[in-house]
Amino acid sequence: MDLKSLTISQIQELLFSKQISAVDIVKFYLQRIKKIDPQIKAFITITEKEALKQAEIIDSKIKKGESVGKLAGAVMAVKDIFLTKDIQTTASSQVLKDYLPQYSSTIYQKLIDEDAIIIGKTNTDPFAFGGSTENSGFFTTKNPWNLSKVPGGSSGGSAAAVAADLCQFALGTDTGGSIRLPASLCNISGLKPTYGLNSRYGITAMASSFDCPGVFAKNVADLALLTKITAGVDPKDATTIDNPVPDYSEILNNVDLKGLKIGLPKEYFIDPINTEVKEKVMAAAKLFQSKGAILVDISLPNTNLGIAVYYILVPSEISANMARYDGIRFGRNTDNNPDITSYYMNTRGQYMEAEVKRRILIGTYALSSGYYDAYYTKASKVRTLIKNEFTNALKEVDVILAPVSPTVAWDIGAKANDPLQMYLVDAFTVCINVAGVPSVALPCGFNQENLPIGFQLIGNFFEESKILSIANQYQQFTDYHLQTPKI
């Protein structure tokens, strides 16, 4: 049976009516991966054995009439920075090659507990440092819409796997745009939740005050279903918030578009935005207007400072978090070092990828004696300005609508040797992370070369219900999210 492009609820219908088994589902995806992934290179590890074992357990539960989890039959790909017990977790870095974690990340485990099936671990920039997967210590993932283009990053492997239908949904993380950017460049839906909604426990830490794990799916309804399961307080991550988690699926149509005030921040519709991107994103805004929403021009004047704030604070946190890779308790090491300092220096020097080193160096510089106030303290104060800008704007409007990426997917290699140009691809995503508010990215059209374009809906803290509801209604009026690449 051809299961291509089915959503989670569609595949579950087939499973529960016994038209297919969970093992059939897994075999379908394994076959597609074997056929298609050699071109895309989304996966670092394919977990065939684990997937078939999980599927057999689900099938036997169904056969015996026992209850199954809410995600029974749903096949997921997991970004390789999520720790998965006894399954290789590399963070796409040579530092952690062959690392077999002794425990699993919280939100991965929550999905497994609901009978989601892991099909593999996906490529990313190393430790999620990048916007294209080109920094990966293993290989570059290709965009399924055009194999000469990047998929975006850092969660590019996860986004490409969903777009190419190599799984039904995927886990990613968004520290500065790493879910929304690849979702947008690959024509799928992705949610960067409020900071503190999803637990960070068991995910290699990048910038602890920014990191937001989240999900990719084929549509917003699936994002809602999955987020209900991943969200919530975790005693193992003290920054998760103990709020009740709404049933996002139940309230997917609750927001009335009539009279809804949608803010269009002028700073997100100027240079460096590409004309076709601007047209398609404006067309999405106009569609809401035709359904009764009110478009309001707003200003977020410090938007142009977002990248600078981000590339001070994030590398600073990175330089502290990456200190754990000392080659003693985990990760690879080097031999024949005369003392402990050369052991650290040679181990880190040999295995860390160039971008990992660059970010640690920038952070160490920013935090070093004499520069701390000029960089770290100053950026932390501008962070306050940017956060206040969002919360103030969201008193005037119900939601903010903006493009995700200034451009469509670019050629592999085009920005790979210029770190600053690569950092600027996140111009329209980083401020949302600096502020900590949620944003959902979804498809809104294609350019003349048939490359996908996406937009984002940004809400106030913990307003996932609202933005998911608005995004879901958009997908009921449009079919961009149903388009799939020809591979």
């Binding site: 400072l305 001070i312 005369p338 402990i340 600053l420």
Partner: protein, 99 residues
């Protein structure tokens, strides 16, 4: 041209602080790249942050406390299973004190 933000001596110093051995070719590649990033960061001079408090975390949590309870954890074998080198139940590192 303004003064460079970072010299080769600065780069070597921070690499040592960060415990990263850099090859000569990495140093010559990284130096202009870091210089251009640091120059870009000057855009922050535009911002007026008088009387603005810094934000270190985006939500308003204070101390998050839990009860101090004994819970099950890894046994020694599991805890050491990811280490590149162990001996007699310990992690092995090069000598830290000279004989």
């Amino acid at each position: 041209m303004s003064e460079p933000k970072i010299s080769m001596a600065d780069l070597e110093h921070i690499a040592k602080l960060a415990r990263i051995n850099l090859s000569e070719s990495e140093k010559t590649t990284f130096l202009p790249q870091l210089e251009s990033v640091l120059e870009y960061l000057d855009v922050l001079n535009q911002a007026n942050v008088d009387n603005i408090e810094p934000t270190y975390r985006v939500n308003d949590q204070k101390n998050v406390l839990r009860n101090d309870e004994v819970v099950e954890s890894f046994d020694q074998k599991t805890a050491l299973s990811t280490a590149p080198k162990t001996q007699d139940g310990y992690f092995v590192v090069p000598g830290t004190i000279r004989k």
